[in-house]
């Protein structure tokens, strides 16, 4: 294995790896992941629950891959660290040696089509309440995912985005028919279940005549844009911020203004995985009187909120002072901005909880970009 490990990376001292910040031991880092893979390969470490306790803490944020572009090989195969982690997780899943929280997550997705252990028949309540029509050949399918369907904060964001989009384009949702996109399932190493979910979604979308999909979550955006085409699911997929940017360029979305200071958190699956750093920033910068102040770690170097890789549900990284969400909130607070803008329901929830844990409720407000747009657009709800 050729690797000098992430300990060799240069550059300014900034937090990079969420689990390394949380645990500090070298094992919980990109270099540590490579060391563990090597130890397994050399027969010095066995697959087991103790390994799983470490491996499943990775949020798959890809910050390591941006910091160090060296690649590692194991039996002549090339991997980035997140790919290596996913491979190791696949083996642990295969052997059934996974932490109980991960097992429960996967079981619920398998049984209910979502990780919330709630019947799929209740999935469409968010759209019923918001009056979003069911998909019946509209231009866009609005796919909201698990968080947008079941999480209280996610539902609010889904409803805001849905209503916002409805004002400019024709959109419909799948309601109770929607199932998990599988992005987290894949990153947790359950590749078989991911195949099933992807196939079911692709089949459903095709049957309904869907051609364009706009997603609420960057996680869904990632799997539908990058994984579904490999399985025959060739849809035009956009994240909702990309659609808003397009509407803005077409002159359909116009702003009256919003006097506030905002800092923006890049979601890993929109930024590092799909290189979309511009659309959310362009939207924010287009709102008169809104001042965008950047944090010290942005774009490729943005520090993860801690919700990726299934941690949003498994909470393996916890919520103590060194948890990723709280570190990110402290970075946001340093900018002195009043609003921490997000473009992902997972980030929204993680960072909102972290704001409370940091005791900053009255100083920093977490808002989704759609909520900010809603307040800043002409005729908006300030």
């Amino acid at each position: 294995m050729k690797c000098r490990g992430c300990v060799s990376s240069s550059g300014e001292a900034k937090p990079v790896c969420p689990m390394a910040e949380r645990y500090r031991f070298f094992s919980y880092s990109a270099g540590g992941m490579v060391a563990l893979a090597r130890s397994i390969y050399e027969g010095q470490l066995k697959w087991g629950s103790e390994l799983a306790e470490v491996i499943f803490n990775c949020t798959m944020c890809r910050a390591c891959a941006e910091q160090c572009r060296n690649i590692y090989y194991l039996t002549n195969e090339y991997f980035s660290v997140p790919q290596l982690v996913e491979k190791m997780r696949e083996e642990l899943v295969e052997q059934g040696r996974i932490p109980p929280v991960v097992r429960d997550y996967l079981k619920s997705v398998d049984l209910h089509g979502n990780p919330y252990q709630i019947s799929g028949s209740k999935r469409g309540r968010w759209s019923d309440e918001a009056g979003i029509p069911l998909y019946s050949g509209q231009e866009f399918l609005f796919y909201v995912g698990d968080e947008g369907s079941f999480d209280e904060r996610g539902i609010k964001i889904a409803q805001t985005v849905g209503n916002l989009l409805r004002g400019y384009v024709s959109v419909g949702a799948l309601g109770d028919e929607e199932i998990s996109d599988g992005n987290e399932v894949k990153s947790l190493g359950e590749s078989g279940l991911f195949e099933v979910l992807a196939e079911r979604n692709i089949e459903k979308f095709k049957k309904a005549g869907v051609r364009k999909i706009v997603t609420l979550s960057p996680h869904a955006y990632n799997s539908m844009k990058n994984e579904y085409p490999k399985r025959g699911g060739d849809f035009q997929v956009m994240h909702y911020t990309q659609l808003l940017e397009k509407l803005m360029d077409q002159g359909k979305l116009d702003f009256s203004g919003l006097k506030t200071t905002v800092t923006y958190h890049d979601p890993c699956y929109l930024g590092r995985y799909n290189h979309e750093y511009g659309a959310p920033r362009r939207i924010l910068k287009s709102i008169p009187n809104l001042e965008l102040i950047e944090m010290k770690s942005i774009k490729e170097e943005a520090f993860c909120c801690g919700g990726g890789g299934g941690n949003f549900f498994t909470s393996m990284l916890g919520n103590d002072a060194n948890s990723p969400g709280r570190i990110r909130v402290r970075q946001a607070y340093e900018t002195k901005a009043r609003v921490l803008a997000v473009a992902c329901p997972v980030c929204a929830k993680m960072l909102e909880d972290a704001v409370k844990d940091e005791g900053l409720d009255d100083k920093l407000q977490v808002k989704d970009i759609a909520e900010i747009v809603n307040e800043g657009k002409k005729g908006g709800t300030k």
Binding site: S10, F26, S27, A35, Q44, E50
Partner: protein, 518 residues
């Protein structure tokens, strides 16, 4: 290797005791946590050892004392490490990851020193120093290595202020193997003034740096007071081109002896060519490698000089102007020249950019040194390190190149030299370009290095070949004294070093018979 006695029978109890002293989050006996410490955290070069039995990460000096006291109680080996301590295998019973102690205790620009804990990295410290118009000595290490650990590498020669890294240290706070807290130099009297030079006691810093004579560390450094340097209003970095190592080294020796330069080093054309192609993104690696395969060390690659000098100085503007002129004159007198900006741009623009960032602007963290270290297609390098008078090093280079060519490999090898001891001494450092991330090549190179060291010891009596096996037996008394000091400071031999036999179980619950049966 199996766990030593007490760990076989009392591991849960020992882990509990450690957790009670350090907190549960800073102690782990999880095999997956431990396995990541099998290799050196300096790099990932094989072969790797077995995992340590327990990994701990103390937050304070008191916790380090608790760890060594517990290690004595149970007769367990301990091994402290930091990012960049180059510890190759970590098989100790208790591995102490010192990166958890990461306070910058003091930055005093007026008196030109800092006090840092071992977990403080260059990329944290340097930006703070630059804000104050200062810098600290560093090598071509990646910027997230521990400052204190690397300044404490006894054998390493400083990269940007002449001398050894250890000359940059003003004092240490150290926890001895029995838990005693020690401060070296004037700080031993509790003063905030750190100096190694005191009338009442000897200077003992060297005893605690690195692994003296391949022996275990005699203490665990918990704080280091280190020199810092003003960046001054102007800086110079003239590059010299020469047709022999003799010319280049004599130039470097002259500028250091005259007090012109903070440092001056020499690169041969092979190192320069490899570095330029790497800095460019590895695009010329194949061409360069092909050239090396078909030539010998006497014939530099197209456009390159046989040897280059990098000379670094800081000062007032007028001083720098004079120094640049002096360098031109001395280079001419030695038969070489200082390269024009045009020649640099035409031949070595990418290497120049990196070195300018590092040694003129002191922006180590911008150099991406870690990536430059990887040789395109050749993996990481093995280092052979020779120290001696300049004239001896010049003779050694020629003889070594010939021997390598005739006996081992026709491919010219990269090396560089530095001048130290005010210009009277220096080192010649070959960086053998086999990929030692490959186990076969690593083994072959170790063998070759040992053969070369033996040959050098026989033919160059004034050259010190670092790490040569014969050194311990050739030591005139020092090895014996070091062993006696260790026995006195570490009677239970809890300090651990590579290849050392682990502690034998005593009456801690298991007989030798039981162990043999296991």
């Amino acid at each position: 290797m199996t766990s030593s006695g007490p760990l076989r029978t009392k591991k849960p109890e020992i882990v509990r005791e450690l957790a009670s002293a350090l907190g549960e989050d800073r102690v782990s006996d999880n095999p997956a946590v431990r396995a990541a410490y099998r290799g050196s955290n300096y790099n990932f070069l094989p072969p790797w050892g077995k995992s340590p039995e327990i990994v701990v990460m103390p937050r304070s000096v008191g916790q380090v004392q608790d760890i060594v006291r517990l290690a004595n109680k149970y007769k367990l080996n301990v091994l402290p490490i930091c990012l960049g301590t180059m510890t190759p295998f970590c098989e100790a019973d208790i591995l102490i990851d010192m990166m958890g102690m990461d306070s910058i205790v003091k930055i005093d620009t007026e008196n030109s020193f800092v006090v840092v804990e071992p977990g403080v990295t260059y990329n944290r410290l340097l930006p703070l120093l630059r804000k104050e118009g200062h810098t600290i000595s560093y090598g071509s290490f990646p910027a997230n290595f521990s400052v204190a650990a690397n300044q404490g590498v006894l054998r390493t020669v400083n990269h940007n202020f002449s001398g050894r890294f250890s000359d940059q240290t003003l004092g240490y706070e150290i926890v001895l193997p029995d838990g005693t807290l020690l401060r070296t130099g004037t700080a031993t009297f509790g003063t905030g003034y750190w100096s190694p030079l005191i009338l009442d006691f000897p200077d003992v810093r060297g005893l605690f740096l690195g692994s003296p004579g391949g022996r275990p560390p005699l203490g665990i450094i918990t704080k280091a007071a280190l020199r810092i340097w003003p960046m001054m209003e102007a800086r110079g970095l003239p590059i010299g081109g020469f047709s022999s190592l003799a010319q280049a080294l004599k130039f470097s020796k002259a500028v250091v002896k005259a007090g012109i330069a903070d440092q001056s080093m020499v690169w041969n054309w092979v190192l320069m060519g490899m570095s330029e192609s790497r800095a460019k993104g590895g695009k010329d690696d194949i061409d360069f490698m092909n050239y090396r395969m078909t030539t010998d060390y006497t014939k530099p690659y197209k456009g390159l000089h046989y040897c280059y000098t990098w000379t670094q100085f800081r000062g007032y503007k007028e001083q720098i102007e004079v120094n640049l002129k002096l360098c031109e004159r001395i280079a001419r007198e030695m038969g070489g020249k200082i390269l024009s900006s045009q020649e640099i741009q035409d031949t070595i623009p990418n290497v120049w950019k990196t070195w300018k960032l590092s040694y003129e602007d002191f922006l180590l963290e911008e150099t991406k040194a870690a990536h430059l270290w990887k040789v395109g297609g050749e993996g990481t390098l093995e280092v052979w390190y020779y120290v001696g008078w300049i004239d001896d090093l010049i003779k050694l280079e020629e003889a070594l190149n010939l021997r390598l060519k005739e006996k081992y490999t026709p491919i010219p090898q990269p090396y560089y030299c530095r001048i130290f001891e005010s210009g009277i001494g220096g080192h010649l450092r070959y960086q053998m370009s086999a990929d030692i991330a490959d186990e076969y090549q690593a083994k072959r190179n170790r063998q070759l290095r040992e053969e070369m060291n033996a040959w050098i010891l026989e033919h160059f009596p004034n050259i010190h070949a670092a790490g040569a096996k014969q050194l311990n037996t050739q030591s005139i008394g020092l090895g014996v004294v070091l062993d006696k000091i260790r026995d006195a400071l570490d009677p239970n031999h809890i300090g651990y070093t590579v290849g050392e036999k682990r502690l034998e179980p005593d009456d801690e619950g298991e007989s030798d018979q039981t162990l043999k049966a296991l």
